[in-house]
């Protein structure tokens, strides 16, 4: 795995693509990277600084932590506080603010909240703690869905009755469609998320390219990948093409991962989902199918998520659609910081606000020496 990473961090490779981009760009283009991992890479490595002034990168809705609706965070908090529940979550969900508190606070107040690294760890915990109700917070895009599906599949097969999932599983293409359908958008092309497409393939993206006449390039996460993906996208724009191309060929095939897709089809069904910042989008997520509904934590614990309001000062909805940049928010770095976030884009390491805060906060006051 690391051999690949090193190869795509090769400075000569990256700088070569940057030079080529500068040579082929004749107009202004606005390109959105769909995935939070790409956003993080762009800001961390300063990839945008290698680009000609005509190219603007905007950050998309591809951070799973950021788009989980506040009402579902409140459900998670409610569950985690129950005395009979052991609540398992990935680490970066701990500090996402619900409408009143976060999971970290519930933990400090005595709730049994545990950080796990895989849903299968949570399942194992359920087997080891037969008298506890173990709930796993199944958050994420296409990337996390197969492992979460596998946990549900195994729980059912092994008849583990004290295990359930609080599902907030979302899909990338419907979110991009929502962004493209907004009258405010000015996006000319996309970098599609390499890891999500590794699972799902990119047939759905071809429909988007046709419907909205935009180029989408399935792209990886290293500087070399991102610059290569940008070059491919810009070449399409400059020549008036609007197709789906695959930069991340070492991982992605057009039809995706067949086994993973079969597992998803077994356990989940397509459902409408509410996205933080974007609102309700039809057919934009997954829920447990009828055969697995007994594993649905919302049903098991009779939760009825109330709609909760965002803090009014937070503009994460505009950030997630690429309409505003984090530094354009008046609360950025002032009322909103990672230790006291107003919204989810400041929490997750893949959230655009958090990435800007971590890598660019000081540039607001100090001029960075360019060497």
């Amino acid at each position: 795995m690391l051999r690949y990473i090193d190869e795509y961090r090769d400075p000569e490779l990256a700088l070569g693509y940057a030079r080529e981009i500068a040579a082929v760009t004749t107009r202004h283009w606005k390109i959105m990277e769909a995935c939070g991992g790409q956003t993080h890479s762009i800001v961390k490595y300063g990839i945008d600084r290698l680009l000609p002034t005509g190219i603007t990168l905007v950050h998309g809705p591809g951070c799973p932590v950021c788009v989980t609706p506040i009402s579902l965070i409140d459900s998670a908090i409610e569950l985690a506080a129950r005395p009979e529940v052991t609540f398992c979550t990935f680490g970066d969900m701990l500090r996402v603010p619900g409408s009143r508190k976060d999971l970290m606070t519930v933990k400090a107040e005595g709730g049994d909240v545990r950080v796990v690294y895989s849903p299968l760890d949570a399942l194992r915990l359920a087997e080891n703690l037969p008298h506890r109700e173990v709930v796993f917070f199944a958050v994420g895009f296409e990337t996390t869905a197969p492992a979460n599906a596998m946990a549900a599949y195994q729980a059912r097969r092994k008849k583990i009755r004290n295990f359930s999932l609080l599902v907030s599983q979302v899909l990338v293409p419907p979110a991009l469609e929502a962004v493209l359908s907004s009258p405010l958008h000015e996006i000319n092309g996309f970098l599609a998320p390499g890891h999500a497409c590794t699972i799902s393939g990119y047939e759905d993206y071809e429909a988007l390219a046709r419907k909205f006449r935009v180029p989408l390039v399935v792209t990886g996460f290293e500087p070399g990948d991102i610059l290569h993906g940008l070059l491919m996208c810009i070449l399409q724009l400059e020549s008036g093409r609007a197709e789906v191309e695959n930069q991340y060929t070492r991982s992605v095939q057009r039809e995706g991962n067949r086994e993973a897709r079969a597992m998803l089809a077994e356990v989940f069904e397509i459902a409408p989902r509410v996205w933080r910042g974007l609102g309700k989008i039809e057919a934009s997520g997954l829920r447990l199918s009828a055969a697995y509904s007994e594993l649905d934590a919302e049903k098991r614990f009779g939760l009825s998520p109330e709609s909760a309001e965002e803090k009014s000062a937070c503009i994460s909805g505009l950030i997630l659609q690429g309409i505003r940049k984090p530094v354009e928010c008046p609360e950025f770095g002032k009322g909103c910081r990672p230790e006291r976030p107003l919204g989810a884009t400041m929490v997750s390491s893949e959230g655009a606000c958090s990435a800007y805060y971590r890598y660019r906060r000081l540039e607001a006051t100090d001029e960075l020496p360019r060497t």
Partner: protein, 351 residues
Amino acid sequence: MNSREPEGASCGLPHELPEKILLAHGGGGRLMQQLIRGAFSENFHNSYLSTEHDSAVLPAPSGRLAFTTDTYVVKPIFFPGGDIGRLSVFGTVNDLAMSGARPLYLSTGMILEEGFPLESLQRIARSMREAADLCGVQIVTGDTKVVEHGKGDGIFINTAGVGVIEHSLNIQPSSLAEGDAVLLTGDLGRHGIAIMAAREGLEFETTIESDCAPLAAMVLDLLDACVELHCLRDLTRGGLASALNEIAAKASRAIVIEEMQIPVRTEVRGACEMLGLDPLYVANEGRMVAILPAKEASRALEILRRHESGKEAVLIGKVEAKPASRVVLRNAIGVTRYLDLLSGEQMPRIC
């Protein structure tokens, strides 16, 4: 001072001692004396300790003294490459070494949780002795308290240390000068990842061992060779990034480092990639940065590289005047950015 030879050779404890710590072990009575004899006296013995007085009476060395304290809470207490005992000796010795002191004496205060296995306590005491011997320090006074089950996490250890400063340098951030070289004594991130892997049961292809090691011998060798040290800092919680930020802020100077020069083992890189962590912020327990005049850099590197934990010592950057109080990182693709402090702990990410 052992009044009685241990009967069980494997555990080395008198027979009547139970196998787990009881509240009564902290009560100051006979059980406590047995605990001290069974677990500690065998490992910690020197003329200062054997007086069994309320305080150790020590000869006063000439020159300035360095004095420091640190408390060790780590889970798990035994981890690949070390344990809490080793950590509690090396950590405090390293803090003394960072002011260029020759470490002399340590105190140790232990808080044990009722039910803690005596065998583990003995193992920790043995490990502390070995670590102290390696560093040439003596543990001259100590204290033990027992708290109720559920009120502690097995064992907490505090150590304080005294060392003597035999040079006239002021090894501190305010001594930084423009043009100084920034040296790093080895690869980053192994302790933090080893602990995280052990704590969370993460399985990687190879076991990552903590870098837990004493730094005093390296520092004393640099001083013996009359290297003009401006600042030393061991890289513990918060890693290299936090240490350099603290130094830059205190010194009101800029530290500019080259990411490509910073050694990180492949397995640590892999674990960090997987977990979404940045090795520059991951904890170490046997690494330091040394900041010194650029003309001394190659000589200092040569001295550092003679030591086991300094074999990969490398020049990673330099001190500049501006932007004052900031750390600037130049990355692999030649772009510079500020290397900022983190808000809190790094959190493993979702995907």
